[in-house]
């Protein structure tokens, strides 16, 4: 116990020194001391109950077994690190796109928005790195056998990762601190820095992705140089599907977190300007989130296909085996996300465009009904949860009529239709309050209607036909055709609408800042759903390895080599979501402190304007 005691003494000494230097913040110092004791000293002092056995190398260590346990601790820290990483990789994309839009349109609001979010990056970046460090130390300490093996395989990419971090840090500092000075003539260089920031961020994402995907679909070669072995392990079957899936998901996360931030600020806004600004920001966040969400299901589909092709056993465990219930939960969460995003668009039409209710209520009702039917199909499992009596009446856990809704042909079809509906919600919002003046506008509208109608019919026909062809035909041809048809709609209707609206005249000006509070709650809901989804599917990806650290190569021989019950796992997902939300709120709060100081406490001045917060607004 000697070394542990010295750790504690060292901690106490540091805490005493902190208290002596800043007496005014003694309370905080004591709080920090308690926190440090809890997080560092307690596990060290209490949990190191299992002394490393003499002789062979230690394979595992544990922390507070029966209370926390090494696996649970890694689960929480890894998930927090991953969510933060998603945030710090998604936000630069979001900020950079906003900055480009600002330059292209000349609208200064986009530049302000981009800057506001880049400000968050500095603190979020440090927190992400902090959790990465904690994760690394815990992994080395708790899973030395695995880490030794991974280090042996991936050491070259560890070096690459370090270099990328240096480049990313330098670029981020230049991008953020140079924002104001690089305006006007040097704005182009600033945009280039933003581009570089995203390039480095992308590589920072895909390098550790190779480590995680290697664990699920390892490619091990015993010959060749250190670099050759690392490269073979990196380019494993699920690496690129995960890279693409995570890249898109990060954009979605960035967009919806921006929306949630705007939503909360909107609820707290005490001046009209603030309400207008945060209402607009919420719209932009939701738009980018939705934009990213449209291709996301197909990236996930590709990933699952690669998993099946790599190892059918793993694929069946995920999609047909004990993890298949996670996909029903996923359907529920994505469904709520689709509903939330559409609801926000619809509220935007109703509130921001005065007098539009009579015109748009019926189309909205139609879209809502289609969305709910699709969602009902998506959420209907193949094997139903039924009591013994109910199962007897059904003749098993498959319902003779609704059982057909449980297979992929039905799921793929409704996902495509839901995406189309969401896209049309956006187009409707885009067109609302404008009157086309082009002579060919009517023909364009008819053309758009035809494209949409034919595409929907094709998607539905292929969906039904999919039941009558071999699975491989459905997967390789029908499903891909459905996606291509859906993309065709997006890629034809978008430019057509843009062209028609170019010469359109505005009949009703959009009014910002009068959205009801529930619109802000919808934005917060969307962000929470995305975070929950990431914790859910992260668990699915990770637990599909079942009792393997590296699938088929290195078995998990720890006491935790079992899959937890779904309820237990769901509780951890909720906990992780809650912790991440707390952390994001903290980052936002910290970032806002600097702003208030510089601005000479504008909060108080705003209160004097006595404009009521949006929470108190009308229904």
């Amino acid at each position: 116990m000697g070394p542990h005691t010295s750790h504690r003494r060292s901690d106490n000494r540091q805490a005493r020194q902190a208290g002596a230097v800043v007496p005014a913040t003694r309370v905080w110092a004591y709080a920090a001391l308690v926190f440090m004791l809890f997080t560092v000293a307690a596990p060290l002092g209490l949990a190191w109950g299992q002394e490393a056995p003499a002789g062979p190398a230690t394979e595992y260590r544990d922390i507070l077994p029966g209370v926390v346990g090494s696996r649970n601790l890694i689960w929480i820290i890894a998930q927090q690190h991953l969510l933060l990483a998603g945030f710090v990789l998604g936000v630069p994309i979001f900020a950079w796109v906003c900055e480009i839009v600002g330059v292209r349109t000349g609208d200064p609001r986009y530049d302000t928005l981009a800057k506001e979010f880049t400000k968050l990056l500095t603190s979020a970046y440090a927190t992400t790195a902090l959790f990465g460090g904690i994760l690394l130390f815990l992994l080395i300490g708790l899973y030395p056998k695995l880490m030794s093996y991974l280090t042996d395989v991936f050491f070259p990419s560890f070096l690459v990762y370090c270099v990328l971090f240096l480049l990313e840090t330098v670029t981020l500092y230049l991008y953020w601190y140079g924002w104001d000075s690089m305006q006007g003539a040097t704005k182009g260089f600033h945009l280039f820095l933003g581009f570089l920031l995203n390039v480095f961020a992308f590589f920072i994402m895909i390098v550790p992705n190779s480590w995680a995907t290697f664990q699920a679909s390892p490619v091990v070669i015993t010959e060749g140089s250190m670099w050759a072995r690392a490269w073979a392990a990196t380019w494993n079957p699920t690496w690129w599907p995960v890279n693409v899936h995570r890249l898109i998901a990060n954009v979605v996360l960035g967009g919806f977190i921006c929306g949630a931030y705007a939503g909360l600020k909107y609820l707290m806004a005490q001046s009209k300007e603030e309400r207008v600004h945060y209402d607009w920001m919420g719209y932009v966040g939701n738009f980018i989130g939705v934009f990213g969400m449209l291709p996301l299901p197909f990236a996930g589909y590709w990933l699952m296909r690669e998993v099946y092709q790599y190892n059918q056993q793993m694929g069946i465990t995920l999609m047909g085996g004990f993890l298949s219930w996670l996909f029903i939960l996923q359907a529920m969460l994505i469904g709520i996300l689709f509903l939330g995003a559409n609801y926000y668009f619809w509220l935007g039409i109703m509130y921001r465009i005065p007098g539009s209710e009579a015109k748009y209520r019926k189309p909205i009702l139609a879209m809502l009904v289609i969305l709910l039917i699709c969602l009902g199909v998506w959420m209907t499992p193949h094997s139903l949860v039924a009591s013994l009596e109910e199962a007897r009446k059904m003749g098993g856990t498959h319902h003779p009529m609704l059982g057909v809704l449980g297979v992929m042909s039905a799921k793929m079809t409704v996902v495509n239709v839901m995406i189309l509906v969401t896209f049309m919600s956006f187009v409707m919002y885009w067109r609302a309050g404008k009157q086309e003046t082009a002579t060919w506008a009517k023909a364009a509208k008819v053309g758009q209607g035809l494209i949409l109608g034919i595409a929907t019919v094709v998607i539905l026909v292929l969906g039904v036909w999919g039941y009558f062809v071999p699975a491989i035909t459905r997967i390789n041809y029908f499903s891909t055709t459905q996606v291509l048809v859906m993309l065709f709609v997006l890629l034809t209707i978008t430019p057509l609408t843009a062209l028609v609206l170019k010469s359109a005249k505005t009949t009703t000006e959009m009014v910002w800042g009068i959205m009801p509070p529930r619109a802000a709650y919808a934005l917060v809901l969307n962000a929470v759903m995305v975070i929950l989804l990431m914790t859910l599917m992260g668990y699915a990806r990770s637990s599909s390895r079942v009792h393997w650290h590296v699938y088929g190569v290195m078995q998990d021989t720890s006491p935790y080599a079992y899959s937890p019950a779904l309820g237990y796992a769901a509780a951890f997902m909720s906990l992780n979501t809650f912790l991440f939300c707390l952390m994001v709120a903290f980052i936002f709060w910290v970032a806002s402190l600097g702003g208030e100081k510089k601005g000479g406490a504008p909060g108080k001045a705003r209160v004097k304007e006595a404009v009521r917060p949006a929470v108190a607004g009308a229904r």
Binding site: Y308, Q309, N311, Q312, Q313, M314, I316, T317, G320, G321, F322, S324, W325, L339, Y343, W346, L347, M350, Y351, E357, R361, L365, L368, V369, L372, L375, G376, M379, H382, S383, L384, V385, A386, S387, L388, E389, E390, A391, R392, K393, M394, G395, G396, T397, H398, H399, M401, L402, G403, V404, G406, V407, S409, F468, P470, A471, I472, R518, G552, R619
Partner: protein, 237 residues
């Protein structure tokens, strides 16, 4: 009719259709699914009803006023009192009925298609798919499998009534059409007792045919099952 009334009518209508209407043409739905559809309907009503300030008032106003007792008198006052008393009682009764010990086994989320053991993954059928082999497979199927799985491959054999869960219906596109031949080989060869841990609870009366049939016969039976049910095995190329 107010929006709130319309919403209530819709909710009741959906409940009646899924609970009592559908069983007129097919098997009854389990409550888990009925709750799901009612939840979606409620979400739809709330979303549609709260799209504008006016509709929000039309949907929620009467509910809030009723619950608050604002301007109520006579029978309406009594109705409010009844709701305020009955709803907590209903919740209490529901909680009690969920928790009280019962002779009914709990609802289960059985894993129908557990992942096969590694040695059964990706095996190719070694028997050539010729009409003779398929014919022989059908003969073997008729002798060993059809009493449960049915002569028409639809899970409706004469002995099928004795099993819960019932024998698999191969004509259903959600069964063997989703699986590779190697998966069927595993299930036939090892039977219900050969299900792995992931396949809990082991509710399968499938015999362990490896003790009676040679592998070649099992492969022929698999070919016959696909040919007879009009399905194709799942492949990756």
């Amino acid at each position: 009719m107010t929006l709130a009334m319309k919403g209530a009518v819709l909710l009741v209508a959906v409940f009646l259709i899924v609970k009592f209407g559908l069983p007129l043409i097919t098997a009854p739905l389990p409550m888990s699914l009925i709750w799901l559809y009612l939840f979606l309907t409620t979400v739809g009503i709330v979303v549609y009803g709260t799209l504008s300030a006016e509709s929000t008032e039309a949907l929620l106003g009467p509910i809030f006023r009723f619950l608050g007792g604002e301007g109520l008198n006579g029978s309406a006052k009594l109705a409010r009192l009844a709701v305020l008393v009955l709803v907590p009682l209903l919740v209490g009764w529901q909680t009690y009925s969920e928790l009280v010990p019962s002779s009914q086994p709990p609802a289960e989320n059985r894993t129908i298609h557990p992942a096969p053991p590694g040695e059964f993954v990706g095996l190719a059928n070694p028997v050539p798919n010729t009409p003779e082999n398929v014919m022989m497979g059908k003969g073997l199927f008729s002798a060993f499998c059809s009493p449960c799985h049915g002569a028409k491959f639809n899970g409706n054999g004469p002995a099928s009534d004795g099993f819960n869960p019932p024998p698999a219906n191969f004509v259903d596109p959600g069964t063997i059409a989703q699986l590779q031949e190697s998966y069927l080989f595993w299930r036939i060869k090892k039977g219900g007792v050969g299900l792995n841990v992931e396949g809990h609870p082991w509710k399968s009366a499938m015999p362990r045919w490896e003790v009676e049939l040679p592998d070649e016969w099992i492969w022929k039976i698999i070919m016959a099952e696909y040919a007879g049910s009009g399905q194709k095995p799942r492949t990756w190329e």
